[in-house]
Symmetry: C2
Subunit: 332 residues, 2 copies
């Protein structure tokens, strides 16, 4: 083996990778969140080298984004047009989502304008912060001022699922403790209405597995309300949930994280099932996601654990919770 | 307002974005993990629309990677050459890491070959799984068969930092409880040797803030060993650590997650400090990261909590731990 490169440039003075011959892709990005690793040989070398490739972050200055928009060409539709304000595309190296409320020609101008404002507020950069919520902060702020203001109708869609009036094509399991369905956020899943369930098992998309378990009764708004009496339901959500996933998708219990969000996105207790290999993991970060196994252990140790525990509460500065914990209302 | 586009194509039949005039970048990707959102107006529309841009995942088939390697040109060095086997580059839309053990001309051929094999094993796709470790599994497998086999020399580098013989340019704080430094994984940080510390405060790179707190004594290998007697050190790591970060970097306590990995990457107790806004969050996922605030609460409640608790243990099937928990040795 000679260790001198023909180009004398390894590994620190390369201008391109033309001198690199690919032998084998040793990492397809599945377990490394998109990072692809190529094994190959540089010209003049006998020993192999590795080349790891990652997408660079998008530029974000106004000029750079303007230039980027000019470079996005040959867009292909990524999802069929739903008739709504959304359009989904993919170009060579960029995924594009267009939101044009003006496309809703049957809505009033005022309605379209309101929708635009909502999309702008939701999508704008916001500072993220974490509060450490004591039981007292929960009672006086989170519960009394925030949860109390949420209309019951906000979780109507949950009751539609629990009563099998909605999302039947996504239903994976139902018993006295919970209902489980394929989460719509699992975007690579085969079409639930048109594909045979047998084809779901070991489908390539199981690397992104994401399912939702909805607690069947109406007495748990969030993790805060969980007590010893809920242990049978929690155990069913954990063990039976994973059995269903293995049966339908062929993904084993040890390949899945099962967790709860605090604060939740909606106040009817529910559980997330996600493949460890899934690419999108922003929702599983430790300041917001709590393993169901830890929850069960804590409640087995002390049935009132979640009545007395401190819990972390991540929020954006545009969230209504932020005002209560950090804004003008923080000391009221 | 007219809702018909001059191109009649909104939002679902676009081929490129030439008809879109950028008014403002409303999300620079900081809080949305790289997703950039542009607010602007399509030709013929009076109302604004949003365009969200995301990097598409890299292709991973052999042919597609071969084609991609040809497209990577005009590579610029991202970090100075360290004299090791690594080279770091950035191209227009791809970040590249080259690992060429053959560049280590002073090593023996056998040593270079061994290093190459190690890099291949580490970087190859592997199945990720989670075990739920009981205290007994810890004692009989993890501690007796895995930790016991790690030579003391493996943490020599930690003792070098603790005795101020290494990484002095990265040192942020030292007291009787812990030493804190800027983690080398914070790759966007200004050069620690050549830049003035005053310039670190409010530097644009603080969105990726990543620091390391190393416990000063030698009696804690991991979270498993933490007991009531360690509470003063844990509290110092949490509160003083965040004070130091606010003083040096201008990042506030509520903008940081402070957590511990279990299992750790090395068996000398340490704590990670990471901005909530950081892009790379794979290490903070709930099955591997435990909030220091939760650890302190648990130990305050029960000084022997971590002697008796079940802990989740994520591993890859190439890790030595895997063999112990899932492989041929699982029942020994």
């Amino acid at each position: 083996m000679t260790s001198s490169s023909a180009r004398g440039a390894l590994p620190h003075e390369l201008e391109d990778l033309r001198a690199f011959t690919l032998d084998r892709v040793i990492n397809d990005g599945r377990d490394a969140h998109g990072r692809v690793v190529a094994l190959g040989t540089f010209v003049g070398e006998q020993a192999q080298s590795l080349v790891k490739l990652n997408r660079a972050p998008l530029p974000s200055s106004t000029d750079a984004v303007r230039a980027l928009l000019r470079e996005v060409t040959s867009m292909r539709t990524r999802m069929p047009y739903s008739g709504g304000e959304y359009g989904y595309y993919v170009s060579r190296d960029v995924e594009i989502e267009v939101i044009a409320p003006s496309a809703l020609t049957e809505a009033t101008e005022a309605a379209r304008d309101k929708l635009l404002k909502k999309h702008i507020a939701r999508s704008s950069t916001q500072r993220l912060v974490c509060a450490r919520e004591t039981p007292d902060m929960y009672t006086t702020k989170h519960e009394a001022q925030y949860i109390a203001a949420i209309p019951r109708e906000a979780t109507n869609w949950v009751r539609e699922i629990l009563s099998f009036r909605a999302e039947k094509e996504r239903l994976l399991h139902a018993d006295e403790h919970f209902v489980m369905n394929t989460d719509p956020k699992w975007t690579t899943h085969p079409d639930c209405e048109t594909t045979d369930r047998k084809s779901w098992r070991d489908h390539p998309s199981v690397v992104d597995l994401y399912c939702l378990g909805i607690y069947a009764k109406d007495d748990l708004r969030s993790l805060r309300d969980v007590r010893a009496e809920h242990l049978p339901a929690l155990r069913a959500l954990l063990h039976r949930g994973r059995e269903v996933i293995e049966r339908v998708y062929g993904v084993k219990a040890e390949e899945i994280r099962v967790y709860v969000h605090y604060p939740p996105q909606f106040y009817h207790f529910h559980v997330h099932y996600q493949a460890l290999s899934a690419k999108e993991t922003t929702g599983s970060s430790c300041e917001r996601a709590i393993l169901l196994e830890d929850i069960i252990d804590n409640v087995e140790r002390d049935g009132d654990h979640y009545a007395n525990a401190n819990l972390s509460l991540k929020m954006g500065e545009r969230d209504n919770l932020y005002r209560l914990f950090f804004g003008d209302d923080a000391n009221s």
